[in-house]
Amino acid sequence: MTPNPLWELTLTRLRLFFREPSAVFWTFGFPLALSLALGIAFRNRPPEPVRIGVSGSGASDRLVRGLESADGLRVSHFRDEAEVRKALRTGGVDAAVLVRGAAEEPALPATGVGRRPEHPIEILHDPTRPESRVARALAADAIQRAAGRADAVAVAERAVTEPGSRYIDFLIPGLIGMNVMSSGMWGIGYVVVEMRTRKLLKRLVATPMSRAQFLWSFVLMRSAFLFIELPALLVFGWFAFKVGVAGSLALLVAVALLGALCFSGIGLLVASRAQNTQTVSGIINAVMLPMFIGSGVFFSTARFPDWLQKPLRLLPLTALNDSMRAVMIDGAGIAAVARPAALLAVLAAASFALALRIFRWR
């Protein structure tokens, strides 16, 4: 009974992978550790109160009481203007309110020319800090209300926290995508080149082995791994952070599988000519770096300028991340992910065909 070559090749790939503990860690352990660390660092806290520093005489008057009783403000008192400015400068408060009596002498010595006319109340804020701008607006509002300003029109408010809007909800699909990419690129690109430097490729092509089957064995191995990687991150995300899958699990698996195929093809392509592992490491890093940054792993691609949006959408990792987020967060169906999925399929087929064509077997 002749053993099946494709099965034996794939089995060989799986054996060699699981007998290399460090490879197992980098593929499975590392992304879990990373998502745990990032999930903790960026966990959602209850809304923090805005901190206002107050200084000046008459600190017991009704304006200050208005500040103190306003929602979401935390007021602390300072002895003089110099101290509250220092607190503002060092981030101890988000904005400072200076209260001056009408006849009060300025707390800071006059510098002579160009002094602004004194107002009874002055708000100091730093417009480059978003929280400082919020503090200014809330403090000004509280002071005006305490002084008797009435709302011109009644507006209803409702606090809403959309499910899936937390950072970890954004992060988990991105990490899955990143993992599919990097384990495909390293797990195939590096391994193939190592086989080339060890003359194992040459030895294999001295047999009647089918070259396409050899390359397919890597694709099959990557697909098999996906069924370990994907559940590991999904189960972890659910138990550690209650990150769920809003859409169809089958669709998610299908999209991730397309991504794994695509990055298998690209992994074979980057390994197709390189003669040593240093070269292939450089190529892999050069190919992956733009996608780490531009494909929305850790932050949204929307942060890039408009003219970059189109090219970024052509990157395979962007396509993978976008469609996985669409399924996991928005519960999107097949129609919504059809375009990025088609892009992944086309890139997978093209890179595999090109790799088989230009592959250096010696």
């Binding site: 002749t2 060890r198 003359k199 040459k202 030895r203 001295a206 047999t207 009647p208 010696r362």
Partner: protein, 308 residues
């Protein structure tokens, strides 16, 4: 002899400026063990890789088992076994797994356990490759070439770097294969290996065959059964001409600062040589005699040592 297992005519391979194989003709008969003997860089590996269909010749014709690489590659690969000069098999596979992987590429062949018996690795079949000694790894490499039960086996420097015992074990494997009437082409730069294993030897130097024959014929071709190697110390060197005139001397050649004399009758030549040296006040730095070997054939033909 029947059909030739390997036939090649006018083989040339050039890399950029370098000519590795320079018009080489070979005919390997079915059922023989044929050796390519030559120093490193002589073009042995390039020649073998062309014959194995791993390298394309710049010019010349190659026929292996009556087939050609450009037409019949797949059929040919089914029938040959190859062991490259250097192959690092995966460290973390077991011996049995490696053999089974190679077996899976061939449509017919031997059972893996049978092959592991042939190469003496039955006890090691569950061991990882990285735990094997150099000789065991090399036998596994040869075993991978035998899984298809090939008609023709290529071995490129099969025992280079191995200890004497491992070399003998490998020679046993090759002789066992040959005993089944199969053909072997091996390259080596060890003369003892060529003498021990090969029915015929082609001595290769600078991409050409410079001598061809059975080891005994080649040794006989230098003209004497014995070799005297002599070196002189004090600058007084004896001329080739006067050495050739000594009784029993068949050939004089120089290599590595010494002179070697191929002689028929050692007992006549040696006293005459010493007498001549004394007469000329030439001091001997070295004097040795041995039975002529393929090494002497190479020295005689090229003026260089095999292992230079």
């Amino acid at each position: 002899m029947t059909q030739a297992a390997i036939l090649c005519r006018g083989l040339v391979k050039t890399y950029d400026e370098v000519t590795a194989v320079d018009g080489l003709d070979l005919e390997v008969r079915a059922g023989e063990c044929f050796g390519l003997l030559g120093p490193n860089g002589a073009g042995k590996t390039t020649t073998v890789e062309i014959l194995e269909g791993l390298n394309a010749p710049t010019a010349g014709q190659v026929e292996v088992l009556g087939m050609r690489w450009d037409r019949d590659e797949h059929a040919l690969r089914q029938r040959i076994g190859v062991s490259l000069q250097e192959t690092h098999l995966p460290d973390k596979l077991t011996v049995e797994e490696v053999a089974l992987l190679f077996r899976s590429f061939f449509s017919r062949g031997r059972d893996v356990s049978e092959v592991l018996d042939m190469v003496g690795l039955r006890e090691k079949k569950k061991s990882w490759v990285e735990k094997l000694s150099g000789g065991q790894k090399q036998r596994l490499a040869v075993g991978c070439a035998l899984v298809s039960d090939p008609d023709l086996l290529f071995l490129d420097e099969p025992t280079t770097g191995l200890d004497p015992q491992s070399r003998r074990q490998l020679w046993d494997v090759v002789q066992g294969f040959k005993a089944q009437g199969r053909t072997v082409l091996l390259t080596t730069h060890y003369m003892d290996e060529a003498e021990r294993l090969c029915d015929r030897v082609a001595v290769i130097d600078r991409g050409k065959v410079i001598a061809l024959g059975t080891p005994a014929e080649l040794v006989a071709s230098i003209g004497g059964q014995q070799v005297i190697e002599v070196g002189f110390e004090n600058g007084v060197a004896l001329e080739d001409g006067e050495l050739r005139n000594l009784p029993g001397v068949r050939r004089v050649s120089r290599a590595g600062g010494g002179v070697s004399l191929a002689v028929d009758r050692l007992h006549e030549t040696l006293p005459a040589l010493l007498g001549l040296a004394q007469e000329r006040r030439a001091q001997l730095s070295r004097l040795a005699t041995h039975h002529a070997t393929l090494e002497d054939v190479f020295v005689t033909l090229t003026g260089r040592q095999l292992r230079e």
